[in-house]
Amino acid sequence: MKLHEYQAKLFFSREGIPVPKSGLANTPIEARQIAAEIGYPVVLKAQVLSGGRGKAGGIRLVRGDAEIETTANLIFNSEIRGIPVHRLLVEKAIEFSQEFYLGIVNDRSLAKPILILSSSGGIEIEEIALTAPEHIEKKPINPLIGLQNYTVRALASKLGIDYSLWKPLQQIAASLWRLFDQLDATLIEINPLVVTPEKTLMALDGKMTIDDNAIFRQKDFLEVSDQTAETPTEQEAKKFSLNYIQLNGNIGCMVNGAGLAMATMDCIQQAGSEPANFLDIGGGATADKVTAALSIIIKDPKVTAVLINIFGGITRCDEVARGLAAVLPEMRRALPIVVRLEGTNAEEGKKILEPYPQLLQADTLMAAAEIAVRASKQVAS
């Protein structure tokens, strides 16, 4: 789960990492009230879960009372890479002489978190990683021991960062590690971490991602998780523990297993169309879950055909068939549905679906994709 900047900064603040004064505004009027409290100039920042907010016009400097509501309105009425803006962070504008990057992220192959420090932070950090890697230093953290100060010093020393900043850097890195460790984060970064004219460090922007598998033990996030931007359909899918991502094509898919779901999508494209969604019902899905999954797929008006591809292992094909059978009689649209059942109890499943001649059968995955694409084109024409 990705956190908004304002959420990340609340945690930063809790752990003693300096952040600018700020407030969260839901309306332009609130933005003006907050700005009056913290004093101009302020920066208005769209709280959307997307990179490149600045380039997309989601971050704007406001120097005085006269322009704040207009500017806030401008951002509220815009979309940042397709995401509507519901909240603005109104933040004191901070002067700075230098931008650092400081982050911790899990390295999959090492199975260790990595501490990353750069003396050239800011929006170009990925570019710098490719073109001037000498400005970025990183070191793995032993997850059992935790981040030690010597690791931070080693990076600061290599990057030639002024010694007066080592202690605050150690403190901020230690806070970041505590957050990473205690909140089950998979990524935390401060970018930029700026050097103010008073030679102190301050976090101007922050990003955090929390391990979805650990949310059950992270009470802080059970509450905020509903605030992360998702489509209503994706939220409904979440209720049934369905892994659903909406896409732009018109073949709705239901598959068991993420790998097979992606393979099914690839086959649809290879057969000449595009998937309308990614939908993994997981292992051992019950009939209820299958019913919910099919209902969600067919709610999408773009969908002109459905491809159901189940290879039973833990999942039992008869259970899937029962779930499908519960929706079919109530379907308002006459959509072509291709069903492919393989593996555990496939024969029983096929028997359950015999009463529904509108279902198309297929033996192989590629054949199923081709049939769905052909049927979809007939519907569309």
């Binding site: 990179g51 990183k138 990003k207 598959v255 999508m265």
Partner: protein, 288 residues
């Protein structure tokens, strides 16, 4: 010998009295009769599978009584790391974790423990290991594979079944099929499995089934280029998946350009691997 698992394995099922644990223990027992014990806290002293398999409170007790050497874990996600650690402490040689949804932080601990242990972990979020005709540790349906000389290694579950079944339909058998698990942090990597297949005299060719994300496939490609002499075929799922809206730069800094289907496919092609573009296509391109 095939890799990791053969007919001499003595299988212990952790969580044997649970719904999934019991169901798949029956399947494993039916496949090779080598499920020798189960654990379930508080059920020590009971029996399952018609009094054929004794249940113990702890892995150590089970191992001491039955000489189990392979553990298959079917417990809920929030108990799974505990279950893995229990098997590591009891010095179980091969641990296969079927459970999915284990927090990454727990897996970091498990990996650190494994480093200084004698145990090998497959998974978590793995369908397990199937050595056709010999033994099965996990949930891969036994019926989809013939014994043979093709080694299969995969990050996926059901996608693997498609490929293995396609091989069977073409009359091609499998030496061992290993699902290394779909999670970001797993116990055994593609590279380690490739290494095992390369040294296994009963494996002639290797099929690798990868997907987008991480850099496991790129590392596998490097390894194949330098260390694998046997023919390798590969499939990468997710060519059409939308790039996950990336947030934060740390991933980019660590992984550079790896992770995309293109990066993986290009690396594998450079390593001389033959790619196939849909699961059943393996049957058309594999040469026996």
């Amino acid at each position: 010998m095939t890799i990791l698992l053969n007919e001499n394995a003595r299988i212990l099922v952790q969580g044997i009295t649970g719904r999934e644990g019991l169901y798949h223990s029956e399947r494993m027992y039916a496949y090779a009769k080598n499920v020798v014990a189960g654990t379930s806290p508080g059920h020590g002293g009971e029996w399952v599978l018609d009094y054929k398999v004794p249940v113990f409170d702890t892995v150590r007790d089970a191992k001491e009584s039955t000489q189990a050497d392979t553990s298959v874990i079917f417990v809920p996600a929030f108990h799974a790391a505990d279950a893995i650690m229990e098997s590591i402490e009891a010095e179980i040689g091969l641990i296969v974790c079927i459970s999915e949804g284990i927090p990454i932080k727990d897996m970091l601990k498990v990996r650190a423990l494994l480093e200084h242990s004698e145990s090998r972990l497959i998974g978590p979020n793995s369908p397990g290991i199937l050595t056709p005709g010999k033994a099965k540790a996990g949930i891969i349906p036994g019926s989809i594979a013939l014994p043979g000389k093709v080694g299969v290694v995969s990050r996926s579950g059901t996608l693997t079944y498609e490929v293995v079944q396609a091989l069977k339909k073409a009359g091609v058998g499998v030496s061992t099929c290993v699902g290394i698990g779909g999670d970001p942090i797993v116990g055994t990597s593609f590279v380690e499995c490739l290494d095992l297949f390369e040294s296994d005299p009963h494996t002639d060719q290797i099929v690798l089934i990868g997907e987008i994300g991480g850099n496991e496939e790129e590392l596998a490609a490097d390894f194949i280029l330098n260390h694998v002499t046997k023919p390798v075929y590969a499939y990468i799922a997710g060519r059409t998946a939308p790039e996950n809206r990336r947030m934060g730069h740390a991933g980019a800094i660590i992984e550079g350009k790896t992770g995309s289907a293109r990066s993986k496919i290009e690396s594998l092609l450079r390593a001389g691997v033959q790619l196939f573009s849909y699961p059943e296509e393996i049957a058309e391109i594999i040469r026996i």
